[in-house]
């Protein structure tokens, strides 16, 4: 095991656990809503048995709500499945725009809990890079977590995948508080530095622009 892997080993497990805990929480909420709608349907059935009239439109609306929650759960579980499979290969070609959109979707609940909105600017064309899918998800999350702490509640963090002469990059922007960051919020720290080394990446903090730029190579070795 390389020095970098020793540093990130536990952090990778923590990241995997954090995402799964967030996903399970959201699935539980979906189940709770379906449960309440099923209960309400039972209540209506009892009312009908007692001779009360129930508006069929109300029942239609309930069916629609249940269907919406099933679709929501399906979306969450598809994301969970994709996330689980990101550890299958240590080197794979990915579309950076898709990875950024995926991580924003996966982090949405955690962002909501912090009172931060996430906005993804889709790239004008696919940005193909060959990388370690799980490690890139991990470093995106770490950059995003820091960006959300900097932005603070009520603010929006914008994520943009970009490519140019310097290679591919992910920009976390609208971080107006970046120049006033508390010394407690050290970034990047050991784990981020180890991830950056393993991915052949670099993190540039542009205080003036209120941006964190994660530069990525076209292909890892």
């Amino acid at each position: 095991m390389t020095r970098q892997w020793k540093v990130i080993n536990n952090a990778c497990l923590q990241f995997f656990g954090k995402m799964n805990a967030s996903i399970s929480h959201e699935v539980k909420n979906v189940l709770a809503i379906i449960n309440e709608n099923a209960g309400l349907l039972e209540d209506f059935t009892l009312m009908v048995e007692k001779g009360m009239a129930i508006d069929p439109e109300r029942l239609k609306a309930m069916a629609g709500k249940i269907r919406h929650q099933v679709q929501r759960a399906d979306r969450i579980i598809r994301n969970m499945n994709e996330f689980a499979h990101s550890v299958d290969e240590t080197r794979r070609k990915v579309d950076l725009g898709e990875v950024v959109a995926f991580m924003a979707a996966l982090s949405e609940r955690l962002a909501t809990m912090k009172g931060v909105a996430l906005e993804v600017t889709p790239p004008s064309r696919p940005i193909a890079i060959t990388t370690n899918p799980f490690l890139i998800e991990n470093i995106i999350w770490r950059c995003l977590d820091f960006a959300m702490a900097v932005a603070g509640p009520g603010k929006t963090v914008v994520l943009t995948a970009d490519s140019g002469d310097q290679g591919a990059s992910i920009i976390f922007s609208q971080l107006k508080g970046l120049s006033d960051v508390s010394p407690r919020l050290q970034f990047p720290e050991n784990v981020e530095n180890a991830l950056v080394e393993l991915l052949g990446a670099q993190i540039v903090i542009n205080e003036g622009m209120g941006e964190i730029v994660l530069g990525l190579p076209e292909a890892i070795e």
Binding site: K28, A32, I33, N35, L40, D43, Q69, M113
Partner: protein, 119 residues
């Protein structure tokens, strides 16, 4: 009995409030800590049922503020996690007896509500 339900899942609290009202319980709901604090400015509740994890302001922090504003108010926590971490936090703050894991059984909830109101 007047109850305030607080959870960021609007559909959950709205439906639960309706079901409680069918059972003779006057239930109101809020989808954020700020919304809950606005409600208690104008209305009185005997009991608040709080999700442990609500955006911006946690359920535990909200409870502390509500306790100061409404000293007579009682509390029940609920969570979607059901994790040991949540359980420990929730039980320490609210007492394990008044702690429910989603999805919630409405009859169990009402039983707990009656227990806590009757002291």
């Amino acid at each position: 009995m007047r109850v305030l339900l607080v959870d960021d899942e609007e559909e959950l609290v709205a439906t639960l409030a309706e079901r409680l009202s069918f059972r003779g319980i006057d239930a109101d709901w809020a989808t954020s800590g700020e919304d809950a604090l606005r409600k208690v400015e104008t209305q009185t509740y005997d009991l608040a049922i709080l999700d442990v994890r609500i955006p911006k302001m946690s359920g535990l922090k909200l409870k502390k503020i509500l306790e100061r504003k409404c000293p007579a108010m009682k509390f029940i926590f609920m969570t979607g996690h059901g994790s040991e971490e949540d359980f420990k936090t929730g039980s320490a703050e609210a007492g394990a007896k008044y702690y429910l894991v989603k999805p919630i059984d409405i009859e169990e909830l009402i039983k707990k509500m009656n227990e806590i109101i009757q002291g």
